[in-house]
Amino acid sequence: MNHDSIIRQPLVVGGKTPTDVTADISRPILNKPSTSWRVGFVISFIFLLLLVWTIGYTVWTGIGVWNINKSVMWGWDITNFVFWVGIGHAGTLISAILLLFRQKWRMSINRSAEAMTIFAVMCAAIFPVFHMGRVWVAYWALPLPNSFGSLWANFQSPLLWDVFAISTYFSVSLLFWYLGLIPDIATIRDKIKTKAGKFWYRVFSMGWTGSTRTWARYEVVSLILAGLSTPLVLSVHTIVSTDFATSLVPGWHTTIFPPYFVAGAIFSGFGMVLTLLIVARKVMNYENYITIGHLEAMAKVVMLTGTMVGMAYITEFFVAWYSGVEYEQYAFINRATGPYWWAYWSMMFCNLVSPQVFWFKWARTTPWFIFMISIVVNVGMWFERFVIIVTSLHRDYLPSSWVMYSASWTEIGIFLGTFGLFFTCFFLFSKFLPVINMSELKTILKNRE
């Protein structure tokens, strides 16, 4: 018996049956990769090689090959770190918070968004780790016993909180993602023909039988992991925000940072999910699963969170004036009218203004248009971090320390290279694992045969 309101749109269209779901979603895994997949993979892999090369060059030569300097000691590296960590947030929001809010439309997109989370966190981690310079002693960031040398970890530092927050986030996300995959991997195991495929899918399905008992246990563990993930959505970017906000730097030390960073992270994450899925649904013919309704819902989230970060920008600006503190006032005036004004206004336009087009139904139901806006959102959120980091650092209390900063080709190369890592991982994922959660999706089909 179904009591859904008549005005609810179906979440899966095209009259799909459970058999169709299995067939459609396991098709890319069982078949040979398409030409578009091969081309995309090769391009991504070339960028991945760029990452390896630029990082190798950095480690071999020293951190001096970056253009960071005495005042702007964080440049593209931490900008990119925050950028990638933020992107990861959509996956966790979709799988944990939307689960708690019983938003069933998440079922078509949670798998790929969670995968994106994991790859984005991998990209993010590269930046602070290699910024350490002597990367071979990076493990000193962990609170190891003194027998490994001295205890270097400073528990009062938000940078150390980051180490814990991000490693926890990564482990829980990976575990949650993998757990969700197990029933689907078992489905593939039963369908795949190649010998190696049979072996590996058997290993990773961990003897899944699909019995009632297994499902009952599986659901309990899922719920526990969802519960654990929920605070993580908030905590990770909160702690990233404290990297800035606990300091005394004008423009960084402001109390709205934690929720504002979280909103921005969800905003950028949904931007990236839209970018990826609008392409994926087209190329993989998943338009009946990732429907216009899904895109519309995500566009609404983008509009909401974009407006929230916009409100934070305005609040910061106003309160800087209101505070009467000249350093704060200068920091914000300088952001808007100083040498980096273009970055500030790009940020304002991309994050606050552009998502407002989603007030119009046409805008949020037209895939190519949403795709364009999602790119704008990705760019805008990169600029936001650049604005926060570089404009606050390039002006010091001491005018003799005032400097300008622009990235070296190595920094640019590493950033481009992380896109290579991200997309290489995503292409591998879309080839070897089901991009949509088959077992979950089957529970919401209207057509049960």
Partner: protein, 473 residues
Amino acid sequence: MAHHEAHHIEISKEQFVVPAKAKMFTLGAAIIGLLLTVVGVFTLPTDSSHSANSHAKPATHAGHDNHGAAAQEAHKVDPNLVVDNAGHETLFPKTTHKDPEHPKPAFTRFWANLLVNGYFFLIISLAALFFIAVNHVANAGWSAAIKRIPEAMLTFIPVALVIVLVVLFVARQDLYHWAHYEHQNIAKGAPGYDKILAGKSGFLNSNILLFGTLLFVSIYFLFGLKLRSLSKKEDEVSKGDLTNFRKSVRFSGAFTVIYGFSFSVLSWLIIMSVDAHWYSTIFGVYNFATGWVSALTIICCFVLYLRSQGYLKIVSDEHVHDLGKFMFAFSIFWTYIWLAQFLLIWYAQIPEEVAYYYDRFNDPQFKFQFFLNVIMNFVAPFLILMTRNNKRNPLVLSIAALILITGHWNDVYLMVMPGTIGSAAEVGVLEIGMFTMFCGVFAYWVLQALTRRSLIAVNHPYIEESAYHDVGP
């Protein structure tokens, strides 16, 4: 789920009649509260005795103030004594209540209390309106069966607005030292000139305070009336007519944006400006969180009460469970925002910011209530509302609700009192009386408003979804 599918749920209109007992209880609370308020006002300490009192208090509490070397060290850096080394006018003047030159009239405590309660119930009524709006824009189905309760709560907005406006109009110079300063009209460079306050006068002035408050809250209330009337109209048209629903969604969207952007400004004007030298970008979010969690708690209380009286037949334990989840979740949200403000200011220890917590966290007068705030609004609901059974148990929920509502009153009290009457503040007969009175009046008012339309929005497009709502295992 099985028991739902087994039978058909009848969805019909319900006309609420306020039981005599409820009338007696709410009006009784209001009258007793009023009497206590009067007693409280007449027994207010006179100016001379209160200043003597205020000198004695810190001395007696000094012994409790040992919080390690850090706190001792911090005490030495009195924010009131910091002098700008560039030789400007004092950048960090003393907060008013510690200023012996401006003794507060004893009656100020009455006005400060009226501000606390008026503002508290204002943000609750506004959050009730926000609840309706946000459920519309989010296409939420489960809450359709209880939407008449926030619809009734929002009718309290004009009452609270009038009270707040009266306080602002009559007593602003006693409560807000910036308003007193504005009144003094000191020329630049003259003795007593305050660079910071003068810099803010474009925003912090009596005109914006009064007209801004009036304008913002009136706009909110107009949206509230519109959403109320659309909801009422929906009862009268045939089922399946979505005109009113679609209009409600549009008005809700507009309201959400307007409220989201302007509520911060309202909270800066009325509450943040109490400590006029201080500022915090998160303050609006913090006030929103306080009002929001309180409103959710009160909605839950009304649901429990109406069900206990045999009303709201389609509302089941499932809805109560969800409201319990909201109370739990948004208590944590409140704590998150509270922590964001406190942690960042405490960590950075910038004099002009940390002064706010010197008056609350370090001042022995408010220290107890400062910790009580976190215990009542975080620890208690977190532990009480964690399990599924507790969220479905009316008695346990009521206890949690009582703690939360009192806790958030304490929260607003802590925002207002240190900066308005400072050392003269204490929770006495006046405070308890006035809060009781407000609770009584608010409950009576909302119960009356509930009688003006069916308790069940029978034609709401999501009403079936709500009636058959099931939160799952």
